[in-house]
Symmetry: C2
Subunit: 320 residues, 2 copies
């Protein structure tokens, strides 16, 4: 999603989808709604609220339609849903999602393990979803994004050739997505690699079609990668409140970058997100109460805001 | 210290000083020696091995002279010692340190609390140390660095005026230091602020006199700040093995950036450090054995190296 005139960076919260699908506990629907409402009230403009997958595969997402219906009632919030295939897209559209996102893993080994589909099969699915989207009247037509997952390396295949990522980004656009995102699913990316891949992909599909990246903090480079992406003109960054859905400190961990730390960095740098950081920090309580025993992460929440911090722009950054 | 022709970035290990002085346990001298030797063997070129302060104030540093004498025997290693005053400098020089570093806190409140001295008093001390250094024959003359501490904000004063940091950097140079460093003692820095302050200070004292920064990861921005510093042409980065000396995840924490994560980032970006990352990771065992119960941090050590990682430059970064 493109940022609007009053913000510089769109922080896209993915915790209700990426976070919740990665833990065993099932969050009650009421808590999901409270979480989404509280983050929106803190100023978050886009939330990936669920994934439309069969409930027998992911019971955490069984209430996807109800969650989307609720989130749609929040003014100013873009409601995003992940869809693995045409069936999921149909359900997401019926529920009223403003935007749907489909992952396509650059590692075909990972694609087969994750979606049980080859690249060709996923692209065919994208083509059918795009046709469905185009068939809808303009006021009911959702945005459609394709995300190249494992774009910076794969835990199964190891290094992923950049030309493969560029090729898949092109194929996604040809098959009909509006936008392409790049996902560091495995926490392998480094700033230099990220910069180069953003440039390579944009050179092929156009800068306006690549506005967002999805980063993990598995090796501690999450915010350094976010900084590199910003410098390349990326304006949408995914993150997860409390780093939910993966212990970023443990072996095999897959934690997203932490929303609170990301917003602190952006805020301190003087970039406008529209988010009130103290209010955002207070949302953690909803997660802590609804998911007892589940670890919440974040350096800024642990250390606290610096002395002299002012919401909406930090004094130190402009101290004369 | 300037980097040499065969490396791009000098990773300056500060754990034996900054790490050990921040924990209660006293590491046995033999373990310190083993640690220093093992890091040097892994390719680390500069280590801040101790602080020359009275043993009754910091019993962890009581063996400073012995540690310096040992470290000097390691070929190719620059042995750095922190000194709070002239007396400390005399002892460090007598012990044979290749380089001495003195902290000057931009926050005068912090300076009085930390060194029990005003800015004027610290500068006078610097002047006397510089005179001592100049009086020595060239082959026994150590490098002399002044570090502006709390340069990005202070837990006591809050925001620190940038003009104060620039002014103190100038006064350090006038008083006779060879080089100036900037220290984010409190973990308040953000990439934008760091960039601006590096430029402001360099504009006044010359780029060649500011080659290093000392960063903490208190709010998770440590590596993002390191990236920003690199982009500004900084070539020396301080870090601590295992993030020793401060829980970076806990309230009030003051952890340095983790050497292992920093080296992983630099390595993955294709920057040469001279350090063998798998060998560096193995050094953690010495700390774990010598400091039972002390927490060691690091995302890369916890998550492991990516599949396909190759020492001395990572395949993914250049995957065609």
């Amino acid at each position: 999603m493109q940022t609007t005139a009053d913000i510089d960076v769109l922080v896209s919260e993915v915790g209700p989808r990426d976070g919740l699908q990665s833990i065993k506990a099932v969050m009650p629907t009421a808590a999901k709604k409270a979480w989404i409402a509280a983050e929106a009230a803190a100023g978050v403009r886009e939330i990936e609220v669920c994934s439309f997958v069969p409930a027998k595969l992911l019971p955490q997402m069984a209430d996807a339609a109800e969650v989307v219906a609720f989130a749609r009632t929040i003014p100013g919030l873009t409601v995003l849903a992940l869809v693995p295939n045409l069936r999921g897209a149909e359900n997401a559209i019926a529920a009223g999602a403003h935007k749907i996102a489909l992952p396509l893993s650059a590692s075909e080994t990972h694609s087969k393990a994750n979606l049980r589909r080859t690249h060709d099969q996923v692209i065919e699915e994208v083509r059918q979803i795009a046709a469905l989207v185009r068939s809808l009247p303009a006021d009911r037509r959702p945005g459609f994004e394709g995300n190249v997952a494992t774009a910076f390396g794969c835990t199964l295949e190891g290094p992923v050739p950049e030309r493969k990522v560029v090729e898949l980004a092109c194929r996604l656009v040809e098959a009909g997505v509006d936008e392409v995102g790049l996902s560091d699913t495995t926490g392998y990316a480094n700033p230099q690699q990220l910069r180069r891949l953003i440039r390579l992909v944009r050179a092929e599909i156009g800068a306006e079609r690549l506005s967002g990246v999805h980063l993990h903090n598995t090796r501690g480079l999450g915010l350094a990668n976010a900084l590199a992406a910003l410098e390349e003109g990326i304006t949408t960054l995914d993150s997860s409140l409390g780093g939910l859905g993966g212990c970023p400190y443990a072996p095999g961990a897959s934690g997203n970058i932490v929303t609170e730390d990301l917003v602190f960095m952006l805020d301190a740098m003087g970039l406008r997100t529209g988010i009130d950081l103290p209010r955002l920090l207070a949302v953690r309580r909803i997660l802590a109460e609804a998911l007892p025993g589940e670890a919440l992460y974040g350096f800024t929440p642990d250390a606290g805001l610096p002395k002299g911090y002012e919401p909406g722009g930090w004094g130190i950054a402009t101290a004369a």
